[in-house]
Symmetry: C3
Subunit: 150 residues, 3 copies
């Protein structure tokens, strides 16, 4: 390799390191590159309506702070004792309807449903079923989403 | 492209892939490259002094384990029922003073303040106000900070 | 640098940007490149057997969903009031044995042990001791692991 090429190599490399350093610490710029928007997965694993309201407040505050429901991807994942939040007879049912119309994804854990003998028809209209709530949360984080556990 | 150059290209590329693989899974090396230090955002969303003390213990243990307050960026974000932790009359007020002098950032959620009619002057001296606690936590995670919810 | 080389440089660079964009938003592909598998750190910081069982359920559900204990790295970190989960006389002792045999890493916080006068011999067989639970959790997240707080 001649000197000229070595220079070229080294300049390449510096640029690369600089750009990678720029992209890696803040995941949002790279998400933007990939055509995405910020995402957040909110976990509900307690049978506590105060926590359910807090989770819905969190989602609403994010939407408001970021300028609208199309500016952020939000998914609320309910599992374990938290599944009750997403049932058809949930005490926060009215707020779930607003959430769905705001594009907030509501996901119920199928493992929990099976253990508690809850069927899809027992869930609030618009709630999706995911195979395992904890897997859904893990995969969202791996995809660069933030994680909130109210 | 001649063979020599192709070799050079392929070596480049291998080095690049190797380095990127090294850098991406562990975010701390790349944060170090970007001139940063590890950061952690600690969420307080419960009105429970035991949790407040645990959050402050967490912060203190991190500082001790990493070798000093200048070795890690720590922010405690209080929102919802957790806002009470950061009020001037907080039962952990004395520990808040120590935290502030250790460079720990204390952030109160303005959305919660408005809902609970809390003013900046009602907060412990040194507490900052952020527009939305949940947005602050999301953005810190997007910036590569770890998230702890005691 | 002649035109030919510049072209080569620019093609390199485009490929690089494309690949980095692919790799960064979803951390799992890059973890796979580094020879790893997905990892998740589960925090237990409450003295509540229901939470301990939920944490163990979470771990078991992940293993089942992903196709076996060798498909995912799981570490349960207990600190503060959660330390009791990992003591030799824990009410979930039997399940801890199963977890250990499934390759789930059980980690007890040494800071908490010192504060509560708990020795290694007081812990369930197979539990490891880490200097600070919160540091362990932070470092796992920095290493690209997901974080679950049941």
């Amino acid at each position: 390799m001649n000197t000229h090429r070595r220079h070229s190599a080294s300049r390449f490399f510096s640029t690369l390191c600089f750009l990678t350093a720029l992209m890696v610490p803040g995941l949002s710029p790279s998400l933007a590159i990939a055509g995405g928007k910020p995402g957040v997965v909110i976990q509900v694993s307690e049978n506590d309506p105060a926590k359910w309201n807090l989770a819905l407040n969190n989602a609403g505050n994010l939407i408001q702070a970021l300028g609208g429901p199309d500016k952020v991807d939000i998914e609320i994942v309910a599992y374990g004792p938290g599944l009750a939040m997403l049932k058809a007879d949930s005490v926060v049912g009215e707020r779930l309807g607003v959430a769905v119309s705001d594009g907030i994804h509501l996901s119920a854990c199928h493992n929990t449903m099976r253990a508690k003998h809850v069927e899809q028809r027992d869930l609030y209209l618009g709630v999706d079923v995911v195979p395992a709530g904890v897997l859904e949360i893990m995969q969202r984080q791996q995809g660069g989403w933030a994680y909130i556990r109210p």
